[in-house]
Amino acid sequence: MSEAKDFNHTTAPDWCPGCGDFGLLAGLKKALPGIPLEPHQLMVVSGIGCSSNLPGFVNTYGMHTLHGRALPIAQGFKLANHKMTVLAVGGDGDGYGIGMGHLVHAMRRNIDMTYLIMNNSIYGLTTGQTSPTSGFKMKTKSTPFGNPEVPINPLTLAMGAGCSFVARAYTGHVTQLVEIIQKAIRHQGFSLVDTFSPCVTFNKVNTHQFYKDHCKDINQEGHDTSDIYAAFRQATCEQYIATGIFYESERPCYESAEEETLREPLVNHKLGLSEAQQAELMAEFV
């Protein structure tokens, strides 16, 4: 049985003091032993951005890849070795901006993996430009007169795209976060967990205090996670910021369509064809 400390890495995170990503990292380490998972059973794949440095700070297998491409890499990995648990992690720019095309397809595809987004509504590593989740009229370095675009709502988007597990948490509420991460990983299919992970340096609007004041756990209030319409209502609620698990569906994951091929992980298959198999392939062209 693993413990949270088994997931500690020798490299200390290089995030700014107070960064919301610390909360996610702590929550993740705390969540993993309870699944249960050992460090070697996990592959964590990230893109580029402050939060995408996370694989370097957690003692598991990891890949720190290209901006926006964590999902295709994670999915390719998963199909090649589906016995490992695969997490993709990254920021809102990575997932909802440059990588959005992949996200929509990953959600409808429903490969069994979890995507944790540390959403700070700003581009932090590039020092504070508008992001796909920056609020309407929000002033940033690239929108000094206010953001002219309305933000993406990741939850309604996910439900519209057929995501089979949709959740949101604030990284400062660790108990709820841990529970959501565990359920997301246990869910068989693609799980999207959008987390509010405040940028203390460049975002003065979406602060820790802001989320502490406005977040409300809908799972405490009897929300029915199988009711997608109720989930849409919560995801678009303007009286408070809903957090928790919004929607879960048990539709079959992608791997079930490859049941025969994936009886054993691809990586364990014996390679090469016998002469008879080669001859059979050639015979089709005669």
Binding site: M43, Y61, G76, F77, A80, E258, G272, A279, V286
Partner: protein, 587 residues
């Protein structure tokens, strides 16, 4: 040119509307020939439209090796009203024209009096109500089999094998339709004066894309990913049909950005992974190619060139993407670029690429083109020549595992993720031997600069090994003391060979210098061979002579003359012969 010997090959062209089933008739006819031990090269000329375009298929059928699809047809079969004006002018003097008299009226043919015309009311001949238009093309095949003097029984047997799964009724119907073509020809047409006796070997009749796909499959491919793009899609189609029976995963992804990264993920997990695309899709993959270079992941990417830039001429041929292969992605990393010379080579190079990718843990790019990937030709059944070699792939290691360990041969043991206690992270940032990022808080510090030097050098030093151990020098074929050398790369091999034969028939000494291993070039050996040539003319399906430029860049040798073709059509030997003559003003 040389017509004195007995004629042992014939060039047939079938033309009609897109959707007429010309390609399928051609394939059936080709396989019937291939089963009799004949050689065939077939090139399909088509457009980016599913119906409504005008398409034609040219087949060069021979009792001897047919190197190209031929220049001018001996026989043309015209199925629609557009065909006569397009193709009649191309027919060889004294050639034969079969035309679909259900659609084409005879007065269209006043332009050539040297040709023999047969009106072939082939839709009307078929009265069977179960016969579709496409099926009626089987009759066309019967007609050809008869006028070329081929063995009809081979055709009947082929139909049996082809339609066996659909039941006896379908077999019998197709056989009747085939027989109608034979009977009609016997009654109305004259046999051509050509000797097409095969050598008895049953050959395959297949495309380069088939060979790539089969080559990957036969050499341990486990994960294939693609986004549809002509002319590479044939690889996807073939592998998709084999996915279940051969237990591989074939994934169509949302775009090429996803495709290349899917295979990087799969390769990282420890399986053999590949993808194919064309120039535009490859352009989208370039960032991923660089990632594979940095993470030292073994991936194989096949890029099938078509006429560019941008959408260009998507159903036409070009060799315009060599520069793109060499320059793909920012920064410096080791890459290998290979360009197979023919269909058989496509099979073997796929296996070689998978081995090289794992030996050096770096991306291998296979450069094909529309002609190679899509034309059909006969080939004897392939046999795997190179055993699967996974290089330094390991599943366990000692406690202090370093994924990017600097070794004497610059390749680090590559651990399959999943082993207890050996966790590591592969970062696209510069990193140390363990994979710890050195580019963030440590960037610019002396220790970090030193690490950068060591790791960058480790990755780049692979190129020297590849050059020395694995890259094959260009082949010099033909007389050593030739006065002229025609230089080419990739799929032009056979056309250039054919051109050399035309020169030889005139008593001119011309040889051929051919590259299949394009990068990194084995420099010394290449210079030696270049220096042994008297005068070199580059023959390339592009305007700027991209291979000549690469050679000059790598060796300093300046090939000054380039015979270019960039109208979208592949070379034939005859075409090269005339172009080279014009370039050198020999005649």
């Amino acid at each position: 040119m040389n017509q004195s010997k007995e004629k042992r090959n014939v060039v047939v062209r079938i033309a009609g509307a897109a959707g007429d089933g010309i390609a399928s008739a051609g394939e059936i006819f080709g396989k019937i020939c291939a089963r009799q031990g004949l050689h065939i090269m077939a090139y399909n000329s088509y457009q980016s439209a599913i119906r409504g375009g005008h398409v034609w298929l040219q087949l060069n059928v021979g009792a001897c090796d047919t190197l190209t699809h031929g220049e001018k047809p001996d026989v043309v079969i015209l199925l629609n009203r557009t065909s006569p004006s397009v193709h009649i002018p191309d027919v060889k003097e004294g050639g034969v024209v079969f035309y679909n008299s259900s659609l084409i009226t005879q007065d269209l043919f006043k332009m050539r009096e040297d040709l023999t015309y047969y009106h072939f009311p082939f839709r009307e001949l078929v009265t069977d109500p179960g016969v579709t238009a496409v099926m009626a093309n089987i009759m066309l095949v019967g007609c050809l089999v008869e006028v070329l003097g081929l063995n009809p029984q081979v055709g009947l047997d082929f139909i049996q094998d082809r339609f066996d799964k659909k039941g006896k009724e379908v077999v019998d119907l197709n056989r009747r339709v085939f027989q109608l073509g034979i009977d009609w020809s016997k009654k109305h047409a004259k046999r051509l004066n050509v000797s097409l006796k095969g050598d008895g070997k049953r050959r395959m009749f297949l495309t380069g894309n088939h060979a790539f796909a089969m080559g990957l499959l036969a050499h341990g491919l486990k994960f294939y990913c693609a986004y549809p793009m002509s002319p590479s899609t044939g690889v996807l189609h073939y592998l998709a049909t084999k996915a279940k029976s051969h237990k591989i995963v074939v994934k169509q992804a949302e775009d090429e950005l996803a495709v290349v990264n899917f295979i990087i993920g799969a390769a990282h997990a420890g399986v053999r992974a590949a993808c194919a695309t064309s120039g535009g899709g490859f352009a989208l993959m370039t960032e991923g190619i660089g990632l594979a270079g940095m993470l030292e992941e073994p991936i194989v990417v096949i890029s099938v060139q078509r006429g560019g830039p941008s959408t260009g001429i998507p159903t036409k041929h070009e060799q315009g993407d060599l520069n793109q292969m060499l320059g793909a992605a920012h920064g410096e990393f080791a890459r290998i670029v290979l360009a197979p010379k023919d269909v058989e080579d496509a099979f073997h190079i796929s296996g070689r690429a998978l081995n090289l990718a794992e030996k050096y843990q770096t991306p291998v790019l296979i450069l094909s083109d529309l002609f190679l990937s899509e034309h059909f030709e006969t080939a004897e059944p392939f046999k795997v020549k190179q055993p699967i070699d996974r290089g330094k792939l390991i599943s366990k290691a000692a406690g202090d595992y370093k994924r990017f360990l600097i070794t004497d041969d610059f390749v680090s043991p590559r651990l399959i993720p999943g082993a207890p206690g050996l966790m590591y992270c592969s970062p696209s940032d510069e990193h140390d031997e363990k994979g710890i990022v050195t580019s963030d808080v440590l960037a610019g510090l002396p220790e970090s600069r030193e690490l950068r030097n060591r790791l960058h050098l480790k990755r780049m030093k692979k190129l020297d090994r590849i050059r020395q151990e694995d890259m094959r020098p260009p082949e010099l074929l033909g007389p050593r003391d030739a006065d002229l050398t025609l230089m080419g790369w990739g799929s032009t091999h056979d056309a250039i060979k054919e051109a050399c034969e035309f020169f030889a028939q005139e008593g001119l000494k011309v040889n051929q210098l051919h590259f299949t291993d394009l990068f990194p070039l084995p420099i010394e050996k290449t210079i030696e061979i270049l220096n042994s040539c008297k005068e070199i003319v580059a023959v390339e399906n592009n305007l700027t002579g991209q291979m000549a430029r690469l050679i000059r860049m790598e060796t300093g040798y300046h090939v000054k003359r380039v015979v270019s073709r960039y109208d979208g059509e592949p070379f034939t030997g005859e075409d090269i012969y005339h172009r080279v003559k014009k370039e050198l003003a020999y005649v």
